[in-house]
């Protein structure tokens, strides 16, 4: 709350406050007046400054004008319609026009070819305000053409509106001409470089900067690919070290140029052998700026060189291994070349290489001791060397028995004597060969003359050329009687057809053997076996034949006798068979009568006969039956022969089935086929006979409670092998062979005739098989037999 005041005081206070407010207003007004004065002063000062600056500006402008007028290069100011407003003395001189004397429009002096470019340039000047390096051709007053370059800028008025353009003209006619000339020269150079047969590459720091077409063709890369490659990238790794060293020397200034032969890897991974020359180009400071690499493809040259080397090597190898001793001397009689053979011929321990360069002047004198006739040897060499003419096949006998053949070949090059070649050949063997041949002939001649076989040589007309002693003896003719006559006539050969046929065979070059009947001198008939072969001369032309004759008359006679004997044997065999047949038949009928009589006797008198009598009658019947079986067996045995075999396909399983149906098998015995038996090619009846014999033997000889007969087989390359196994009484060892012989049986069973297994054996023999057995008495027996397929 404000304290209460009386109104008098309040008015006083208000008056005081009002007074303060008035004074404050006056103060404020004074302040504002001062501020206004200050503003005026500032404005005035600014105006003054402005006027000063404008004056300064115009002064500078005129100063600049002076500069342009006095400028060395032509200077021109034109309005926006290309009319020249102002130009300096230099411009007047250059263009030939004076704007003060005549109106010039710059557009009229621009060469027509540059009109479009000029229009574009002006456009750009208007937009940007400046134009740099405008280059064009103009036609000056005296009608000559000039190349100019103009740097130009726009001139604006106070409102920044362009009113004119100013430009400095540079005469670049000469410059341009030089440029053209340079371009022309560069083009020429480029053509040379591009068409150079050498690959040319410009490198900077090993990088490929530029390369010509030949290089690209050689290396297979395109320009674009090469830009990314270093020279090392396409150099073969083994060469890089070497090139690096050289490059380093080049970089340090030791080398300005070098050339090496190195390999490059083509884009297709092929190898390019190239002679590479590198030249360094230095800048003004002596630093290597770039290198020019020239690459010459020498792949082919290298290949040719390789081939040459190879062929030289081959030749060298050939010479060194030649069977002829070679000695090549130069014109100073120094050894240029010898070979191993030469060294070994003359027992020289040094190698052919070591002999190179050795002087041969004394060689003849030193070596003469090796020859049988040393003085002649030395003299002859002297002669030859003096003559210098080709000498061939001089024979030299050496003390160790060898014979050498010597050739001398002088060597001339452009008619200048360059040395000579000695060649030596060991002809000892060749020489001895003739001697040996003669000795051989002597040897064989004596064999031929003394052998027991008759030898006859005839020509193609069958005229006898030669006959040996044995032949003379065989035929009864002397050699004189035989020579020159026709063989078949003198020997009175019967089989002329055969002889002619053999002659034809022989004329084709084949050898042959045949038999003929001839008559000897005394007219006796003889059988001869002849082996014949064609005869040829050295040229391989058939000139006749040679025959070896063996007298086989005795053998022939024996053969005829043997044939007769066989026939007789056959007849007697047949008779014997028929006899067996008749005998057995004749024997059987009385037996049947005895059997019938015994039966009747038993039936009629069985009531009166005592027991003993009945038994004896029974025994009689049995013996008769045994006798009958024996006779049947003999009959069967005698009929087994190859004549009666009729082979067909036989299923053995079926045969076994038939047998088990026919024969008596005791109840306790089981016959088992182990695995399915084969079908074989044989006579069914014989097969039946064999199996029935074994099986009936097996089933009857089993005393075990359970009898087992197993039939099995195995197949070998040539035979079928069957087995019949039983668990019967077994057969003692001593009977194993006996049982296959006729009339032999084990034990004394009345029913066995002892003939069955011998029939089996006979049949198996017919089929080229074998039969055997394995047996343990009391445990069982296994019979094996084989039949040829």
């Amino acid at each position: 709350m404000l304290p209460k005041m009386d109104s008098g005081k309040e008015v006083l206070l208000l008056k005081k406050a009002l007074d303060r407010q008035k004074k404050a207003r006056a103060q404020a007004e004074k302040i504002l007046e001062e501020k206004a004065k200050e503003l005026y002063d500032v404005t005035h000062h600014l105006k003054e400054s402005n006027a000063r600056l404008e004056a300064l500006l115009s002064e500078k402008t005129s100063e600049l004008d002076g500069v342009f007028v006095n400028i060395v290069d032509p200077y021109v100011v034109m309005d926006l319609k290309f009319n020249i407003i102002k130009m300096n003395a230099s411009a007047k001189e250059f263009l030939g026009y004076d704007s003060e004397k005549e109106a010039i429009n710059l557009s009229t002096i621009v060469h027509p070819e540059y009109m479009e470019y000029t229009a574009e340039s002006i456009q750009s000047l208007m937009e940007v305000g400046v134009l740099k390096n405008y280059q064009a051709k103009i036609i000056i007053k005296d009608k000559t053409e000039k190349y100019i370059q103009i740097n130009s800028s726009l001139i604006y008025d106070k409102n920044r509106k362009p009113i004119a353009a100013q430009g400095i003209i540079r005469d670049i006619t000469q410059e341009t001409e030089i440029k053209h000339l340079l371009a022309e020269q560069k083009k020429e150079l480029d053509i040379i470089v591009e068409n150079s047969p050498l690959g040319i590459v410009l490198t900077v720091n090993n990088k490929i900067v530029k390369s010509n077409r030949t290089f690209k063709t050689l290396i297979g890369y395109s320009d674009f690919e090469l830009k990314k490659l270093k020279l090392d990238d396409i150099s073969s790794p083994e060469d890089i070290e070497k090139s690096k060293e050289l490059i380093n020397q080049m970089n340090t200034g030791e080398l300005d140029q070098f050339s090496i032969i190195k390999k490059y890897t083509r884009k297709d991974n092929g190898i390019l052998w190239a002679k590479t020359s590198v030249n360094a180009f230095k800048n003004s400071k002596g630093k290597v700026e770039y290198k020019v690499v020239m690459i010459e493809d020498i792949t082919k040259e290298l290949e040719a060189e390789e081939q040459l080397k190879e062929s030289e090597n081959r030749l060298a190898t050939l010479i060194s291994n030649l069977q002829t001793g070679v000695l090549l001397e130069d014109e100073n009689r120094k050894i240029s070349l010898t070979n191993k053979r030469f060294c070994s011929m003359f027992n020289i321990s040094a190698s052919p290489q070591q002999l190179n360069g050795v002087d041969c002047s004394d060689a003849a004198e030193q070596n003469k001791i090796f020859f049988k006739n040393p003085e002649a040897f030395v003299t002859r060499i002297g002669e030859i060397l003096k003559e210098r003419k080709l000498v061939s096949s001089d024979e030299l006998e050496m003390i160790d028995g060898r014979i050498l053949e010597r050739d001398y070949i002088p060597i001339f090059n452009n008619k200048i004597y360059k040395g000579h070649l000695w060649t030596y050949q060991d002809i000892t063997v060749r020489k001895n060969f003739r001697k040996n041949l003669f000795a051989e002939k002597e040897k064989y001649s004596s064999i031929i003359a003394n052998m027991n076989l008759g030898l006859l040589e005839v020509d193609t007309n069958d005229t006898i050329q030669m006959a040996n002693q044995s032949f003379c003896k065989m035929s009864g003719f002397s050699q004189d009687e035989l020579l020159g006559t026709k063989a078949r006539e003198i020997l009175r050969v019967r089989e002329l057809d055969l002889i002619e046929k053999q002659d034809r065979i022989r004329s084709k070059g084949d050898s042959d053997s045949y038999e003929v009947k001839v008559l000897n001198k005394s007219g006796e008939k003889k059988h001869w076996l002849i082996s014949g072969a064609p005869r040829y001369d050295e040229g391989g032309i058939l000139i006749g034949s040679i025959g070896i004759h063996l007298d086989i008359t005795t053998q022939k006679k024996l053969e005829v006798q043997k044939g007769l004997l066989l026939k007789e044997l056959e007849n007697s065999n047949k008779g014997l068979q028929e006899y067996a047949h008749i005998v057995s038949h004749d024997l059987k009928s009385p037996l049947r009568s005895i059997s019938a009589l015994a039966t009747w006797l038993y039936e009629d008198y069985k009531d009166v006969l005592d027991e003993n009598g009945v038994t004896q009658l029974g025994l009689m019947q049995e013996k008769v039956e045994a006798m009958d079986n024996l006779i049947v067996g003999i009959l069967n045995y005698s009929t087994v022969s190859s004549d009666t075999i009729q082979n067909t396909k036989v299923d053995v399983n079926m045969v076994i089935k038939e047998i088990t149906d026919i024969i008596f098998i005791p109840d306790h015995v089981e016959v088992k086929i182990v695995k399915k038996l084969p079908t074989i090619f044989a006579d069914k009846i014989k097969v039946h006979q064999v199996f029935q014999n074994f099986m009936s033997n097996a089933v009857v000889h089993i005393e075990n409670e359970i009898g087992l007969v197993n039939i099995d087989y195995i197949e070998t390359k040539t035979h079928w092998q069957f087995s019949i196994e039983d668990n019967g009484v077994g057969i003692p060892k001593e009977y194993h062979e006996k049982i296959f012989k006729i009339f032999q049986s084990v034990g004394n069973k009345e029913r066995s005739t002892g003939i069955g297994l011998s029939i089996v054996k006979k049949i198996i023999d017919l089929y080229e098989g074998e039969v055997w057995l394995e047996s343990t008495p009391g445990e069982g027996t296994t019979f094996y037999f084989t039949i040829k397929k």
Binding site: M5, Q27, A28
Partner: protein
């Protein structure tokens, strides 16, 4: 010191304590200007010190509290004089944050000779600001009042803590946390 501060101070004293107290203060302080101030003028700061000292004796209120109260009053006066300045902010923290970089820059344009305090921002979050007031005048309580009124203007309030970094109050740290 700007004339507006004196004119507004006298306005506040007159409004709060009446003409008599105002007159007594002017007479007793014996200031060279005799209490005549115009807002476009500039006056010696010591006059303000004398006026406040005399008022404090007259009304028995500590000088700092008076300065604080003046701060509260001054914000409204300044707002009236330059409403566009305050309108360009949508929160009291944004305004405080911009004193140095924005408001004082504009003040300097109008009154190039003005000697303004500095506010160095130490930290600012969405809801708080921490700054150091620094002025040879030591009128930190005036700043206190202005800050508080600023929040009121935006219909908010704040907890304002200050710590004298220098005993004479020429450097004071303010921690202002917006309430709610």
């Amino acid at each position: 010191m700007k004339g507006i501060v004196f004119t507004e101070f006298l306005e506040m004293v007159e409004a709060s304590f009446g003409l008599e107290t105002t007159d007594n203060m002017i007479v007793n302080s014996n200031v060279p200007s005799e209490g005549i101030y115009t807002s476009v003028g500039t006056y010696d700061f010591n006059e303000m010190v004398s006026l406040i000292t005399c008022l404090s004796e007259e009304v028995k209120i500590p000088a700092n509290d008076l300065i604080y109260t003046f701060g509260l009053y001054l914000f409204g006066s300044l707002g009236k004089a330059h409403p566009e300045v305050i309108q360009s902010y949508n929160s009291p923290l944004a305004l405080l944050y911009s004193i140095e970089d924005h408001i004082h820059v504009h003040v300097q344009k109008l009154y190039p000779e003005a000697e303004l305090p500095t506010f160095k921002i130490l930290e600012k979050t969405d809801t708080s600001i921490s700054m150091v007031y620094s002025s040879s005048r030591g009128l930190y309580r005036l700043a206190h009042g202005l800050i508080e009124k600023c929040f009121e203007h935006f219909n908010g309030s704040a907890t304002i803590a200050y710590e004298l970094l220098k005993e004479d109050g020429t450097e004071v740290k303010f921690d202002v946390t917006q309430n709610g």
